[in-house]
Symmetry: C2
Subunit: 208 residues, 2 copies
């Protein structure tokens, strides 16, 4: 009973340190070529220098581990594209530059991105997480497209909701493939093609 006042509740920075060790160990293993699915808790715990049972003191299960790894995947990239506007005179060049930033961002985190996409295929929690992330991008794209249509710069018969999904879902798939399987030197070319595709395919699609 007296212990409640006596103990100042264990050092929280220590707990955070162990957690960080586990996250870092997982990233290391992913970077080493392992797939998240075939990565056992045993292996992760060993790499982090911790008992397997201790893993479960920090994470409910592997899903929660992945969620924490992925926490910053969407937000930061969203901030990057948030600054782009299709109204600027050099909007296409700026779009290409922005997308290159995004590609490089995901290249840094390509192992985590690959793990999320891998697990999203069969795990509902991860799938919902990723859909929610992409949903933000889709909503933003739709907002911009509608504004362009209002201003008469994008064709009125363009279906903004669908076009947004095409841009974001399709674009993200290409980026994922780019950072997972293509050399970094091609990133700029990929970003430029992606930008041109979105620009002339939607924002400045000619009237037909």
């Amino acid at each position: 009973m007296a212990s409640i006042t006596r103990r100042p509740a264990a050092d929280p920075s220590r707990r955070a340190a162990v957690e960080a060790d586990v996250l870092a160990a997982t990233e290391r293993l992913l970077a080493g070529g392992a797939r998240f699915t075939e990565l056992g808790v045993q292996r992760i715990a060993a790499e982090a220098g911790v008992a397997r049972s201790t893993f479960y003191l920090y994470f409910r299960d592997k899903t929660e581990l992945l969620l924490r790894l992925a926490a910053t995947l969407g937000d930061l990239a969203y901030g990057m594209v948030g600054t782009w506007s299709p109204a600027a005179p050099d909007a296409l060049d700026r779009l290409a530059a922005t997308l290159l930033e995004v590609v490089r961002f995901y290249r840094d985190r390509r192992h985590v991105l690959a793990a999320v996409l891998e697990v999203a295929g069969y795990d509902r929690v991860i799938n919902e997480f990723w859909e929610a992330q992409l949903g933000l991008f889709v909503a933003r794209a739709e907002e911009l497209l509608l504004a362009e249509q209002q201003a008469g710069r994008a064709p009125a018969d363009l279906h903004a909701a669908t076009a947004s999904r095409v841009m974001i879902w399709g674009g993200m798939r290409v980026i994922a493939d780019q950072v997972a399987n293509r050399p970094a030197e091609e990133d700029a070319a990929a970003a430029r093609e992606l930008a041109a595709n979105e620009w002339w395919g939607a924002f400045r699609r000619p009237e037909s």
Copy 2:
């Protein structure tokens, strides 16, 4: 010893029938909302009215089962797009019509498509299978784009290889999402957006 000549090697149509039962049972379970990953061999065998051990007399493992289910996924759709040519006067309308065909084709087989994409995330064999399928489409798109550039109808500074990947990888992701999560009534609108995106984003991208 004599048996080798005496027995004319069991009725092959019977064997094919059991195999078909297992494939049909799997499709039924997938259509019922189960994910391929969480579908045990036990469950599949039971649904097909066959012992679990018998399953292994017909399929080496679950991967082979999925490969057989997926066998016709790419080929047929490839035949559809093979007839389209960007040189025709009404090429954009025809592209939309072709893509609508493709979307409907995959809608029919959406559970198998979803299973392939789900497993491709973590299984190398399925992943290679799917990459090979898409590779055909990418090659075809690149061929068409190069021809358009030669003819001066597509901009010379377009990077055909990258643009093809954007079209196919991005486009397939959109189609997969469309047939898995969107109502069939929207299929035509999606096909039209996809067509316009590819047409103005690549084949008839304005010079910038």
